[in-house]
Symmetry: C3
Subunit: 381 residues, 3 copies
């Protein structure tokens, strides 16, 4: 056994090291103590599943420390793999949550809920996460450089997905039979997954040098060993998925009591809490002047939902759902996705980040939020 | 009293200097003699307010020399403050006219007129003023450089305002009660003003170095002292507002006699004459190879109307109007604003100005004008 | 007579040289032997004009070698004139086919067919031809540079044409009488032709240095003399027009037998075969690392159809058609043109070509094709 392999193996002495490290982490970031809410909320959900408002509040508290752990673990991994791979890894783990929740909703045929959650995640990642990263990073650093190749690449993928969702309903004026719509959705789903797979090939293999980070930020604090980081990533992601499901189950009841419309809950609240983990990583990366990682997580996650998660769900609905799910979205959702894509294109065009770009992205998001809060759409989520 | 302060104080001897300077100005630019129409049109409006076509013609003649004076004074001020501040100052003074006219129309509840005039000013400034500046500047200079940071910044603001106006009507398929629409408009108005204020902070304070001019053009002719310039700016602006009001009062009657549709008058004629002062400045700045100033006036003025004047009017309508005014515009107006914003983005992307870019912007404007001239929209202005 | 002129004159000895060269060409590219289908299909069309499926298959076979010849001749000419002029020349010759076919359809008043063929050609050139050039070029060369000034210029022209086609139907909510629509279309047609003519002046005369090629690719194989190339260009273009007409005549019958919708045939099949000649040139130029020529042909051809061919047909319809043709297109066609324009803008923005950009453009085209194949639109072509 070589030295290197030994250094990565999990032995009792390493566990002691990890425990000491964990204590040190908590001292540095007292918010990590909120982790006690994780078992509490799981127990409460078993004992009194009707306490919606309490479950809602406690699951939000429980997600925060998990998100912080995920953030640290991703940083540690991406410190070894580079920002592009780190961003992809983080986006994938973050979207696992979306995928798990949506897969749970498929057999019941709750397609409106699934689509609202997908569209909300795309819009929230593109505008709120990207905008927040620009704002938080820009408040600390005067001007931040980032590699615009990756930003443009992800924005183009988002544009493509929006076209795939938008075109069928615009080209055809006649009412489509659901058979035609389903065939078309299946074809588009296969097309999007193929384009996404080729995109991975392009960005991680044939032209990976174009995606190198603009900034050479060094890590401020000592980072975790690779094995530890990956174990933490996987375990914490599972807990995030678990808590997220409790959160989704309680949010509607809590929202009714707090006077929020279903559209606002589906698009804004679920997406914000569901993406908390990725957001924590994206914001802290921006403050550490690693805007490439932030942009990679925000736009990469949005593109992955649009070109991978949504199409997979369409295909899986043939096996799990009561009837096949189509790729057609409510027109308001398509409009918001298109505007978010255009905003991402404008913002990432220059390859430089300043605080005001964050303000503008957040303002577009606030316009959506305000409208959804005041004007319930015809088709509720 | 220091030397510097003495040099800026207004004394009899300085008034003599100003008078001599004024005579010299008129000799250089004989069109300034049209200023005699200013008292004439004011008198005529008092004596025969029904002579619409005559008032229309005379007020156009009176606005030209005032616009030229305003242009010279702004140039003199911006020579001391830099193009970004100069452009903002000019845009603000130019839009005072819009604001004054609109405030006069609020108590009568003429919201359609107000909105048509606002949308027309945004589209005219973005396409006609910017296009004219590119064309006039490009006919004299082969290729002109300009700072695209400012152009992009203003284009992003315009995009944001267009989203704020467009989203509410698209997201909601159901007919909105006017109560919901008013609440939403008030919220959006406050949001836009806040974003605009932060934009000022960004462009004039925290990141002002990004907005420095691309070209270091020196002034060809001796410029006026700062105090004189500011006094002229204020006095002439007041006269422009006065004459503009007479113009607006007469234009509808004159248009009927000349066979123009209300939409064409509201969008094109009023906006062109109302913006004459800023246009004169923008065009002459472009010919003096100060395209930064031109772009600053054109796009800055459009953004200011969209993010400051329109929201202010929504808020003021709560106090002055018969009922609150909403931010919802006629769909055709929103479409034209969106196209104008996209055109401004395309044109300002490269940071270089050539005559053909002016032709393209003017062609888009001509398409709008031709359509409005031939096809009266369902909702007249 | 100078030496140079003698070198370009057509004498018996030169014809022998040309024949030998032709034999050499066929040896290099055996596909050129398909040229025997040219006389065959012309004969078959005279003898059995009802054999639609056979005529369809044979005319496709006949167009391939003609396209290859056209490609070689254009390369030879553009080697002497530069890529910008070469691209324009190729686009014009390619669009002569469109123009000839459309002129033949005008007297019968088949305006839907004409418009579908124009819109299909614009979308196919912008997405399929540009995307294919990026893909084929990118598979051979890692990263290709191209002059983005020309690409942006053509994309702006396309945007302008799309606005001209889109605005009239959006601004006016009321049903337009056909008289108003015809007057407006005539005005817009004159405007577009004027803008296109000024664009030629700009790109070929006043600012031609901005349009110089980014790459200095040398010709791999010996190129033909200028006179020979031009004669071949003209003769082959005539044959392409002839075969194209047979193809268009047979395609509908063949499509019915093969189960394709009229919209799919009009937009996709006719446009792909009609543009085969230009595509061959564009793709082989991309493989020869002359992406400027490819972009010039693809976008230049699309812009020429939108700003020159379509307006000319509107004007000519006053003399040849049963009633004037309008510039109004079916909304789905306008949407596809707008998306194609935006895609072209995104793709050409960076001035660099890689294989994945081709994949994305082709994916957008595939979305259109799939939708048209499965969802027949309300208004058939």
């Amino acid at each position: 056994m070589s030295n290197l392999e030994q250094g990565d193996a999990i032995t009792p002495s390493r566990i002691a090291v990890i425990t000491r490290a964990a204590v040190a982490e908590v001292r540095q970031a007292p918010l990590l103590m909120l982790i006690v809410f994780v078992p509490l909320v799981i127990v409460l959900e078993q004992t009194s599943p009707q306490a919606h408002t309490l479950l809602f509040a406690m699951s939000v508290c429980a997600i925060v420390p998990l998100a912080m752990l995920l953030s640290r673990a991703t940083e540690a991994v991406s410190a070894r793999t580079g920002d592009a791979v780190g961003g992809l890894l983080n986006a994938t783990l973050g979207n696992l949550t979306e995928l798990v929740i949506s897969l749970a909703a498929l057999p019941a045929g709750q397609y409106l809920l699934v689509k609202a959650s997908l569209a909300g995640a795309i819009v929230t990642n593109t505008l709120f996460m990207l905008g927040g990263a620009f704002l938080f990073g820009g408040l600390k650093h005067h001007v931040q450089e980032f590699n615009r190749v990756n930003a443009r690449f992800q924005a183009c993928l988002l544009f493509l997905a929006t076209v795939a969702i938008m075109v069928p309903s615009i080209i055809s004026d006649v009412d489509q039979t659901s058979v035609v719509s389903q065939k078309l959705s299946l074809g588009l789903a296969v097309l999007l997954i193929a384009v996404y797979a080729m995109g991975m090939l392009f960005s991680l293999k044939t032209h990976r040098e174009l995606f190198a980070s603009a900034s050479d930020a060094e890590e401020g604090h000592s980072s975790w060993p690779l094995t530890v980081s990956i174990v933490i990533l996987v375990v914490v992601t599972l807990f995030v998925a678990l808590i997220s499901e409790i959160f989704v189950g309680s949010v509607q009841g809590a929202a009714d009591r707090l006077g929020m419309t279903p559209a606002f809950v589906g698009f804004i609240v679920v997406a914000l809490v569901g993406g908390a983990a990725e957001m924590t990583t994206a914001f802290s990366a921006a403050r550490a002047n690693r805007l490439d990682l932030s942009v990679g997580i925000a736009l990469g996650s949005a593109a992955q939902i649009a070109l991978f998660v949504a199409p997979i769900l369409v295909i899986v609905s043939y096996f799990l759902g009561p009837e096949p799910m189509s790729l057609q979205f409510w027109p308001g959702a398509v409009t918001m996705m298109l505007i978010a894509t255009m905003a991402a294109t404008f913002l990432s065009n220059g390859g430089r980040g300043v605080w005001y770009m964050g303000v503008m992205a957040l303002a577009v998001y606030a316009i959506f939020g305000l409208t959804l809060f005041l004007l319930p759409p015809a088709v509720p989520s």
